[in-house]
Symmetry: C2
Subunit: 451 residues, 2 copies
Amino acid sequence: MKINFLNFILVSVLFVGSFCFASGSAVSSQHEITSTLLWIVIILISAKISSLIERFGQPAVLGELITGVLLGNVALLGISFLEPMKNSQLLAFLSELGVIILLFQVGLESNISQMRKVGFRALLVAVVGVVCPFVLGAYLVGPWLFPGLAANAYLFLGAALTATSVGITARVFKDLNTLKTSEAQIVLGAAVIDDVIGLVILAVVSAIATVGAVSLAGVVAILFKAIAFLTGSVFFGHLLAPMLGKVLSKIHTGIGMKFALALSFALIFSFLAGEMGLAPIVGAFAAGLVLDPVHFKYFKKPKISEELEKVRNIPGRMEIQKIASLYTEKHVEDLIEPLAHFLVPVFFVMTGMNVQIQTLFNPKVLLVSLGILVVAIAGKYVSGCFAGKVNRNIVGFGMVPRGEVGLIFASIGSGLGVINHEIFSVIVIMVIFTTLFTPPILTYLIKKERS
Amino acid sequence: MKINFLNFILVSVLFVGSFCFASGSAVSSQHEITSTLLWIVIILISAKISSLIERFGQPAVLGELITGVLLGNVALLGISFLEPMKNSQLLAFLSELGVIILLFQVGLESNISQMRKVGFRALLVAVVGVVCPFVLGAYLVGPWLFPGLAANAYLFLGAALTATSVGITARVFKDLNTLKTSEAQIVLGAAVIDDVIGLVILAVVSAIATVGAVSLAGVVAILFKAIAFLTGSVFFGHLLAPMLGKVLSKIHTGIGMKFALALSFALIFSFLAGEMGLAPIVGAFAAGLVLDPVHFKYFKKPKISEELEKVRNIPGRMEIQKIASLYTEKHVEDLIEPLAHFLVPVFFVMTGMNVQIQTLFNPKVLLVSLGILVVAIAGKYVSGCFAGKVNRNIVGFGMVPRGEVGLIFASIGSGLGVINHEIFSVIVIMVIFTTLFTPPILTYLIKKERS
């Protein structure tokens, strides 16, 4: 396009015009907003570039995590202008939205009847995967590596080793299109069961640490609330989902309404979960499960299928079919996908950014951490042996990543003043390694299984 | 799906699991995040329901604004749980993102060479549309309706009448698929020129109000910064856009990368605009203009077109073409659209929510406001007469809405203590009416023009 003078004037005028708004921007916290825009760009671009790691057969999530670790630690090189990102409420929210969208997607792709099939094995895997690391961490390796600490410290260390991070594993299976395999379903089921047991453990150890005794009433209350929420949402979910499906399949005025309804369905479940003291992402996962694709069978047949019927008998139908296949299946997953492209990387990059590399610089801490790391991996790995007739290596390693969950334990523990900075660092390092090294290992195992 | 016991156990376990996270949520401001999830649902659902107003030939934006006004004033009925929404930083950010996405879309759809054609007429319309309301408001109707106020008050009142809100009008033209008409291009061009002049006026009146004199240096500095930003982004924009276009057209690994790059392009421009003290949305609009579709001609030919080439000579090609037409044209606009479905309604609903209906309850204020409203409409309407050989009514009314811009003037004026609460209310009412009543009038005129 030739840049002539008039054009120049016009565009210049366009830009100068902005000041009028700029004056108003003084009203809101415009600066935070504008810098957040830059941060989003940094996250998106670096995440997408790093996702080229897929070319080497690695899942994109690994690239995003590493990118996050790098971005979060460039301060060590004196580049500190990214530091505010770590404390940005806006990024924290986008990242939360991101993991909600991800778990909603995972829920949509998870087949609940399939999950029911593996339910019992998942339970076994989960229990073993919690008991082993906890016992090892709290009663054997912990006291051995950190002699002379309060019993509570060991309890928290053990507790921090229990919960699997469903986000990381789910994303790896998703990246490799193996979410529907028995292994994936067992791991997903076990991961959430882990969280239950982990929760109970956390409630117990917190109680011991604070009031010095287990408040059974508290635990019961928690369980009761959860069951109440569950029954409620399963009941209403299965009441609503079919209606929603019918509504969605009837709407033909663009994707706007369908998109809004599907997204709202996920968000309302997340909200309710949050209100009940549950994690929003569990609500999102449940929303995905409840929003069983079967309710969308009409919705799943876009206009193109009808068109195809009309041309059934002409030659070249196969070509039409082929072309159509490029564009059919416009259902909920597809509506949510672009949003996921925007938000999901934010979660994983931010997760990576919270990793403090300097914790690795203390040799003693590092050494001890490796010991705990072995416990963390071995404890989960053995659980795979109870997965029945599936690839037990995949299940075992699928259970390894701790991600943000372990960090949550650590932060609560240090918040209660139960664990010292050393153990905190150790937990953080354990999380770093289990989070960063599981994706490549899991990828290798899955590819081997395929071949 | 049958809800059997094992399923029940599994899902229940799933939910209880969430507590583990919940405990951690204590670390972040989880409550604000979860309630924001609900607010988003409320905004999305009510916005989409209200957008059914399209069935009656009205633009969706009108429905969203009215929804916002209702949501923002249910407190008058004693329903106060929505009040926190107005002060939510997170919603403010999503709404800012929304208007950025909207202006990016508008920029993408605006034809810059077309805009150049109407450049001069837009300038004329803009100048008249600023001078008339300002003179009328500041020197005639203002002093007549509010006798005995300081001169500065009248100046601010006049200034508040000058700037057109590009967002509202652009959305109306967009809703009616008439963005590419000369009328739309003139109004868009004039609206941004308005902002320049409005900016200069604001700078001047602010200077008079504060230091009692016009700081020419300040005005010059503003202009200089703007021109600098402009030349820079036009230059680099036209350097980058083609490259970006080539890159995007070469990428075949899903839409993720394309989406990220396109979105980042818009956000980086918005950020730079914000950094220069400009409004981010102007950067977004510029990004859209610079990202001239011509650079995406390859990008605009998705895989399906190549497929079509292969089957050129078989019978039934027309059917294929027909089917293909349902799915081709997968370019930037399409990538951004789902995000727009999520964020744009947030902006308009939030804009509506900031409308305080109770300001209408004071008869005297209401009466005076109607006088100012007449000035506001007439002053802009006459500008349409300078639009040349186009539908002058459309241009005239297209210039009427003031939206957030007028509110910005008002808030700055009262911030400086120059205008009293009465005039503030008057300005707010003027904004309400010009914002709420322009869409239907404009829609009527455009439909009449078509028929």
